[in-house]
Amino acid sequence: MRLTSCFLASCFLLFSCRNGKEDNTPVADSLKTKDSPVVSRTERPAANPYATVDVSPMDMIYYPVDYPKLKMTHTASQPPMARVIYSRPHLQGRHIFHEVLKYDEPWRLGANEATELMLYKEAMIQDKKIKAGRYTLYCIPHKENWTVAINATIDTWGLEPDSTRDVARFVVPVKQTQNNLEYFTMVFEQDKQSANLLMAWDDVEVRLPFRF
């Protein structure tokens, strides 16, 4: 019994450290950024003592689009080429500019852990060759265009990207839309023989072209 309570206590301690994610621990406070939630986190019916469900949930996208489902249904005609893992902050009544993001300031293209791009094979992104491997992605939004950076520091938290570790930077035009997308959304779109990585939030979209 004593052992069990020790175990539980240690679990709680260990996992409460992890709650640096969108939580209200001191660690999280120091990490809160402009895309942190404005509402307090809640989980019904009881709090999870190990790891709370994130306010900005994580998501994953593949190219070919929906690759895991294609694989499951044996309709994948080619191997996976790219995957992005990112977290999805939401507007909660705010407007993307300037209530969440500011022009000309780096943004982690997500929340929590740095947004990860995995290339299963070499890709041409815009006009640059990028080797297979894992990278982080971030951007610097401007009014007319965004700079999207591929960075070599991986398995990191999204704040304060180190631009000296940038592998490549791309400038992509901003498209204003009539949408009001609540959740930040990334998706690979098929475009003839290539793919666009769509990054969309609120009434703004940018697309980064990939060829494999």
């Binding site: 190990y50 895991p68 893992i85 999805r88 852990e113 398995d155």
Partner: protein
């Protein structure tokens, strides 16, 4: 005039909902990520990581939503994807040992066969797949059985994480009133 405004409003609502449908909605079972060392990305930016990166799990978190989980939603004796949506993935950033067996660094899928008193944990080489619908036992790297422990109160969301152990770390899986620990030697 009011009618026109109302009509425009309705059109805009329809338009927005159509637009919203064309992009992926937020998952009902949100994805999450756990590292060993615990909270590694935060330690890394604070220069507090004392051990190198060893492992990462990427999984989706289904919720209990009033259901009986083990023996109910998750049937005893059947392969369970231990998550939702994409197959749960574990990546080792260095060679490790599980149940005395060598596991090379790399990405694997994780499954479990749940029973009342024990779970058989399965490390499988088929990655980037959806759930356990096309689970192929021929691609198993290893299977090992761990005992079930009971938690004090039911957990609403599935949780997978790591804790430090004497020989490395344990992979912890907990949901509803059940938890298991899979020892990993580093």
């Amino acid at each position: 005039m009011k009618k026109i405004i109302a009509l425009l409003f309705v059109f805009q609502l329809i338009f927005c909902s159509l637009m919203a449908q064309s992009l992926p909605p937020v998952d009902k079972s949100p994805m999450d990520m756990s590292y060993y060392p615990v909270n590694y990305p935060v330690l890394k930016i604070q220069d507090k990581a004392t051990e190198p990166l060893a492992a990462r799990v990427v999984y989706s978190r289904p919720q209990k939503a009033g259901r009986t989980i083990f023996g109910g939603l998750v049937k005893y004796g059947e392969v369970w994807r231990m998550g939702a949506n994409e197959a749960t993935e574990i990546e080792f950033f260095k060679p490790v040992k599980i149940d005395g067996k060598k596991v090379a660094k790399g990405r694997y899928s994780l499954f479990a066969i749940v029973n009342e008193n024990s779970w058989t944990m399965i490390l499988n080489k088929d990655t980037d797949t959806w759930g356990s619908f096309k689970y192929d036992a021929k691609k198993d790297l290893l299977r090992t059985t761990v005992p079930v422990q009971k938690t004090d109160s039911p957990l609403e969301s599935l949780v997978i994480g790591f804790e430090k152990s004497a020989t490395g770390c344990n992979l912890l899986v907990a949901w509803d009133t059940v938890k298991i620990a899979l020892p990993i030697s580093l």
